[in-house]
């Protein structure tokens, strides 16, 4: 991209290229953020048997825009005892940490802000800096409850970094490089080429990575920071208006960043899995567009799964969170790491290929069967009687039946 601006003198062409890449990434994060707020409310509504926003725009799509306008026009309050400089700085620290992770995330073959040779490690490193925004927000709010929320969050995020790093190491061992673009290119072809099906250890590693990444994004069921029943809203209690929305933009941005990283490391990145060739090489610019679309859709799908988990599972307590990390995920990741190393060293190629095809076919069949069942099974009609402790109590349906 630097070549596009080669008409400018030496340092300014680099700066202009950086500015353009930064603007593209920030617009993507902002549009994604708007889409995710709408999606969250619709998904939570549907899971809770209600509709979600429907009035503002068709299907409520403009609800996020209306929310943004409301937040911008809110009064900018801050507590008196708060340290003003740190209070104002904290949301931007969190957003910067999430945003920088996008710089080395490839959206397509070669479509990456800066193709770092240590991209996988870099994403881990930068996402680990997000904990600072949380700590400073908790401290600078000047209230005990925010401080407790901030410290608990920081302990959780920092503890979950260890199994997260180990789960990222697993596809890196399979691929032999930390360069995310190369890892994506190695998964060219049909969907059984994806790293997910390479051996049973990477298969389990994908799910462990996804759960651990949810925990380190402070998302439910690990969202003690927003435990409304205990801490009001944890570290962002005192934040209102646009500062609060910057925290949420940072959270959605890091959710997409880890989903994108999971997509590239395990799910084949920008490859749709249905074409035997690399689209950008065969189909020119249309191939590039196809790659970007497939990658973004995969990232959005994984974020949708995170939201689905949030509204289906109850919240974990802090001691349960730490126990899950240290007693379960850490040993499991160590075993997976050793397993992948042994598989790479000792398993003959033919067994590896057979496993790949077998697991891919089984997963695809399972997915197809699941979809067919979900779409063709008749919806359960309204039940006449109430379950459990409410047996025998009158309901409108029972009254209608007996009348």
């Amino acid at each position: 991209m630097k070549e596009l601006f080669s008409f400018l003198p030496s340092p300014f062409d680099l700066l202009a290229a950086c500015l353009v890449i930064g603007i593209i990434l920030i617009s993507f994060i902002a549009v994604s953020g708007l889409f995710f707020t709408w999606l969250e409310r619709k998904v939570s509504g549907r899971i809770q048997d209600r509709l979600g926003p429907t009035r503002v725009g068709k299907y409520g799509l403009l609800q996020s825009v209306a929310d943004a306008i409301k937040l911008i026009t809110k009064e900018d309050t801050s507590p008196d005892v708060a340290d003003k400089f740190l209070f104002k700085l904290a949301p931007y620290l969190a957003l910067c940490a999430s945003f920088v992770a996008f710089v080395s995330l490839p959206f397509g073959n070669g479509i990456v802000g800066h193709n770092l040779n240590v991209a996988a490690f870099f994403i881990l490193a930068v996402l680990s800096s997000e904990v600072f925004g949380v700590i400073l927000a908790g401290y600078a709010s000047g209230s005990k409850w925010s401080l407790f929320g901030g410290i608990r969050e920081a302990a959780q995020v920092v503890s979950y970094e260890v199994p997260r790093s180990m789960c990222v190491l697993i596809p890196v061992i399979v691929a032999g490089t930390l360069n995310l673009n190369t890892i994506g290119v190695q998964q060219t072809g049909f969907f059984w080429q994806w790293n997910l099906f390479h051996d049973p250890f990477t298969f389990v590693a994908f799910f462990i990575f996804f759960i651990v990444a949810t925990a380190s994004c402070k998302r439910a069921p690990f969202d003690l920071a927003e435990a409304e029943s205990e801490l009001v809203a944890g570290f962002h209690t005192e934040y209102s208006g646009i500062r609060w929305s910057i925290f949420f933009m940072a959270e959605y941005a890091s959710m997409f960043a880890v989903s994108g990283a999971a997509a590239i490391l395990f799910l084949g990145g920008w490859h749709s899995g249905l074409l035997p060739f690399e689209p950008s090489l065969e189909l020119g610019w249309f191939g590039h567009v196809l790659n970007v679309v497939v990658f973004v859709l995969k990232g959005w799908l994984l974020v949708f799964v995170m939201m689905w988990m949030r509204w289906s599972l109850p919240r974990l307590r802090i001691d349960q969170v730490m126990m899950t990390c240290l007693k379960y995920f850490l040993p499991i990741s160590c075993v997976l790491l050793v397993g992948v190393c042994l598989w790479e060293l000792f398993v003959p190629t033919i067994v590896g290929q057979v496993w790949r095809w077998a697991s891919a076919v089984v997963c695809a069949l399972g997915l197809v069967v699941l979809l067919v069942q979900m779409l063709t099974k008749a919806l359960p009609g309204p039940k006449a009687g109430l379950p459990g402790a409410w047996e025998g109590m009158p309901t409108p349906l029972l009254r209608a039946k007996s009348a």
Partner: protein, 170 residues
């Protein structure tokens, strides 16, 4: 050139702010910016693995630890412990003398450099091979060292019963 000037001046100003800031939490934040600046310098020099390690270990680990320590020990009246002016003068004289010495040596070192700079810095693969062949002994020593640190810190920070008033500790 411009990049180096920008990053180096930001790092230097943040380091100065660490010293001059009277609120310990603000010092910690300025130290955070200094460490991020140093990591950017490593990326600028082409040492990408060291830069990413600096971010993940120093910024994401050590600084979190330091800020926790600051918050757990920063009671209101201790946030602004003042240093006497005499100590400042002695400190500035010493630091100034050391800086002049080091800068003179650096300027003399920099003259007459004839060898070309490294074109491509060794990447992750070469570092890994180096750690497992030539530098295996430091690597093993560091592993044992980290184990000792883990045990030591856990022992030092264990929950202890408070000694009763007037009882001599044995």
């Amino acid at each position: 050139m411009i990049l180096f000037t920008a990053i180096a001046s930001a790092t230097g100003l943040s380091a100065l702010a660490v010293v001059l800031s009277r609120n310990i939490v603000r010092s910690a934040v300025w130290l955070l910016f200094t460490l991020v600046g140093v990591s950017l310098l490593y990326f600028l020099l082409g040492a990408e693995f060291v830069g990413a390690t600096q971010l993940i270990v120093y910024v994401g680990g050590t600084m979190v630890l330091v800020v926790f320590g600051v918050m757990l020990t920063a009671q209101q009246q201790f946030l602004k412990i003042r240093t006497r002016p005499q100590e400042w003068i002695v400190g500035i004289v010493l630091a100034g003398a050391l800086f002049t010495l080091l800068a003179t040596v650096s300027l003399r070192l920099g003259e007459g450099r004839t060898t070309a700079p490294t074109e491509s810095m060794p990447g992750t693969g070469q570092l890994g091979v180096g750690f497992l062949t030539t530098y295996l002994l430091p690597f093993e020593i560091i592993s044992v060292h980290l184990l000792v640190v883990l045990i030591g810190a856990a022992y030092l920070a264990r929950a202890k019963r408070r000694p009763r008033e007037g009882v001599a500790s044995d």
